[in-house]
């Protein structure tokens, strides 16, 4: 069975897997294994607190405004599904509920608009 075409080559994939394996293990081991109880500078911790909540929205914003399924043309359906997902996630803090409602709303909207 032939899978879908891959848009990147296999060596890139394995470099990324190996790099992430080493990198994320190093992040996890850094303190518990090496640093111990030494305190980190406050300014550094203050910035680190916001890495995930900055990087993920930065990744997702262009994907919502210029969605891949339309080839990058802004689309009301995709924007509406994204807005609903975000609203439910922000209000309920329930990842699974937000994901399921977002995906279902997308499918309903796609069905309604043909």
């Amino acid at each position: 069975m032939a899978g879908p075409e891959m848009s990147f080559d296999r060596s890139t994939l394995w470099i990324v897997i190996a790099g992430l394996a080493v990198g994320s293990y190093a992040l996890r081991f850094a303190f518990i294994g090496l640093v111990g109880n030494r305190a980190m500078p406050a300014w550094l911790m203050r910035h680190l607190r916001y890495t995930a909540v900055a990087i993920i929205p930065a990744l997702v914003a262009p994907l919502v405004v210029w969605p891949a399924p339309t080839g990058g043309t802004p689309s009301l359906i995709h924007f509406a599904a994204a807005a609903l997902t975000f609203a439910i996630a922000a209000l309920t803090k329930n990842v699974l509920l937000a994901m399921v409602s977002g995906a279902c709303s997308l499918w309903v909207l796609m069905y309604l608009t043909g």
Binding site: F8, G36, M40, L48, T51, L59, L91, V95, L96
Partner: protein
């Protein structure tokens, strides 16, 4: 410490983590399906989950590779998304730092959102626990979640190739990311970081090599840090009055 309390700490960790299977299962499944859609075979998808074992970083890397970003940008962005585990590692150290190195090395691998969150709650509550009970509990919280995540990835990768294109799966990943942001918006400063990053990311998308992501991410982090200071100062002035 007697073996029995260590054993029961492990089982308690496992029981407490049971609800999280409902989250890691579907996420692993989704990762498998999207990896298959991106052209990864079952072994590649499974190796990804086994070696990296960090959901949001895996999703980020998958998305960026499909956008043909340079490998270095893929690695930096995915690791940045996962920087929070370094903070988990730091705050677990007072509780687990006395354990033998091989145990700490294993604990590092299974330091993820749910093992950290559950353990911090339990460690603060159980003052009677020694390092071995704490370590047992910590591993227990991964006893179900880690195997489920792996099995779900394999299952997803197996069915992924047969999912029809008409389902619009190329937009499910953005939806999954948006859903993940919700619980991160814990304070007003987190909200500021989130929206600053979005606002910068749109014009910055014109930058080559997906560098816009790094620029917007840094802008969001700085905005969050400044907002935190600002909100702190405001509360301080209020209490003085």
């Amino acid at each position: 410490m007697p073996i029995s309390t260590v054993k029961s700490a492990f089982w308690k960790g496992m029981r407490d983590s049971a609800p999280f299977v409902l989250v890691s299962g579907p996420f692993g499944l989704l990762f498998g399906v999207l990896a298959a859609e991106a052209g990864l075979n079952v072994i590649e998808a499974f190796s990804f989950s086994l070696a990296v074992f960090a959901g949001s970083a895996q999703f980020t890397a998958l998305q960026l590779m499909q956008e043909q970003s340079p490998t270095l940008i893929v690695l930096i962005s995915a690791l940045a998304v996962n920087l929070r585990v370094a903070m988990y590692s730091a705050s677990l150290t007072p509780y687990l730092g006395d354990a033998p190195l091989w145990q700490r090395a294993c604990a590092a691998y299974v330091t993820v959102d749910q093992s950290y969150a559950l353990s911090m709650i339990e460690f603060e509550r159980r003052a009677d626990w020694g390092t071995s009970e704490r370590m047992a509990y910590f591993f227990g919280t991964n006893g179900l979640v880690a195997p489920f995540w792996m099995v779900a990835t394999i299952t997803g990768a197996l069915v992924g190739a047969s999912v029809p294109d008409s389902l619009g799966l190329d937009f499910v990943l953005p939806i999954a990311f948006l859903a993940m942001i919700g619980p991160m918006l814990r304070t007003p400063a987190h909200v500021v970081a989130c929206f600053t990053a979005c606002a910068v990311a749109l014009p910055a998308a014109m930058l080559p090599y997906n560098l816009g992501l790094i620029v917007a991410g840094l802008a969001g982090m700085m905005a969050g840090a400044q907002a935190e200071l600002w909100f702190e100062r405001r509360t301080a002035t209020k209490t003085e009055v």
